[in-house]
Symmetry: C3
Subunit: 208 residues, 3 copies
Amino acid sequence: LTFDFFHIIDILGTFSFAVSGTSSAMRKRLDIFGVLIIAFVTSIGGGTLRDVLIGNTPVAWLRDNTTINVILVASICTVFFGTYIKRFNHTLFIFDSLGLGLFTIIGIQKGMELHFLPGVCVALGTVTGCFGGVARDILLNEIPLIFRKEIYASACIAGGSVFYLLHSMGTDERVAQIVCITVIVVIRIIVVRYKLSLPSFYRKKDFL
Amino acid sequence: LTFDFFHIIDILGTFSFAVSGTSSAMRKRLDIFGVLIIAFVTSIGGGTLRDVLIGNTPVAWLRDNTTINVILVASICTVFFGTYIKRFNHTLFIFDSLGLGLFTIIGIQKGMELHFLPGVCVALGTVTGCFGGVARDILLNEIPLIFRKEIYASACIAGGSVFYLLHSMGTDERVAQIVCITVIVVIRIIVVRYKLSLPSFYRKKDFL
Amino acid sequence: LTFDFFHIIDILGTFSFAVSGTSSAMRKRLDIFGVLIIAFVTSIGGGTLRDVLIGNTPVAWLRDNTTINVILVASICTVFFGTYIKRFNHTLFIFDSLGLGLFTIIGIQKGMELHFLPGVCVALGTVTGCFGGVARDILLNEIPLIFRKEIYASACIAGGSVFYLLHSMGTDERVAQIVCITVIVVIRIIVVRYKLSLPSFYRKKDFL
């Protein structure tokens, strides 16, 4: 059952990251294959970097067709029903946050399986959750979004730390997972709703 | 003999990708080592990412000096005879397309050896063929060319799919290789000759 | 003792690269986590790429907390004492050059342990020394500094070649290391002091 829960959210996360990649690529008016590649990179970037760093190769998406098919479907849906999907921005946002949460958890759990230290596990979770979006922004030649808007990496690190704490305190794994995802989703909703940003630590012209 | 054929085209492809990297770097007026590094990355980027993804490490160019030497020679030739080489643009274009074709085939065949599924093999071939140019454009701080001009990735995916089909239908490997390279070269020639681009699927102001 | 020497300079190098990453990120006014991530990438980028290329996974910084802690401390110090640290620009420059030298040596020695050929070893050293800064500049959406200012990669390649030569001539390892670092530091000081750059090999409008 845990597997199913994971598997379903994994697919939802992949789907939603692919939708977000497709939208970004269409905003830059790339051709259809450019759009597919950006969708692909956004979806698999985080997990791929994690697998490469820990030496878990061949990386996950090479081992079966599910990921590729989910991305193709998500991308084609977005291309054809783009204007409709834009109305579901809230749904997408939730999916994206769910995906972020789950990918973070997967990263942390892989780290724990390999007996890495706490800080390392959280770093690995953050890499898994965030790198897809970073790679998308690099390819589209922008300063990665996570450095500019929305408290993306911060939500990830917060949720990941909570998960690690709960898990190491012996909390049931599934409970810890749900709490972690909730933390990430709630932080992101509050941030976007109230247009929060991290307190600026810059004095005027400090570093120019 | 197959080995020789492969080996020769591999070197030609490496050479031609190095020339294209050197030209791009010189257009940005980098210093000599910047130029060498861009040439290097353009040539080995695709194969390196492929080897890292499938866990085939140390990656190929670490194992002998051939690749490094070919790149050095190509780069130095381009620096000194740049204005002459520009006259051979058509020759370069052919080499570049040959290289693209061959690198794509190598990627697909590695995938098949590891019994990956068809879509995965074509994706791996595309990565091998295209990533060098993508890395070059990222380093030079441009939106990767494959997303903007020339139907690069598309040619790659088309040729790769043909190769996979022929090969799995039991066609002689060498024939399948030649057909694949021909498909890629011909698509690129037609595209550049007639200034084609993929049909735009954007309605006005759809995604701005 | 060699280990201690190495270990101390390694930590100094990591620290200094983290300071340089933090400064760059603050110049772009990223939020606090953006700053941490850039500091992190600058410090571990080179060693990570090296380990991934040679298949030495999980990569070094996953195996213990030292690196992460050093980077956190360096980054927080820079954030709080930024204006003071700017007065120590010369100290930082020395640290940065020391780090560059040491990371280059570590890369080369890993290559020699694996019996790679000379050119390959120097390339691996250069990757280890330079990639952190390259990744930082890519994330901050700039043409990597090493292609524009200061003879960074060139110093690296020069120092690395000297080290390889001395080492293969049977010179005591520690002596070779110190000579290599000295070469790199001295080249960089001379270059910055006298505002040198590599001779331009561009004729007017050659490649525009």
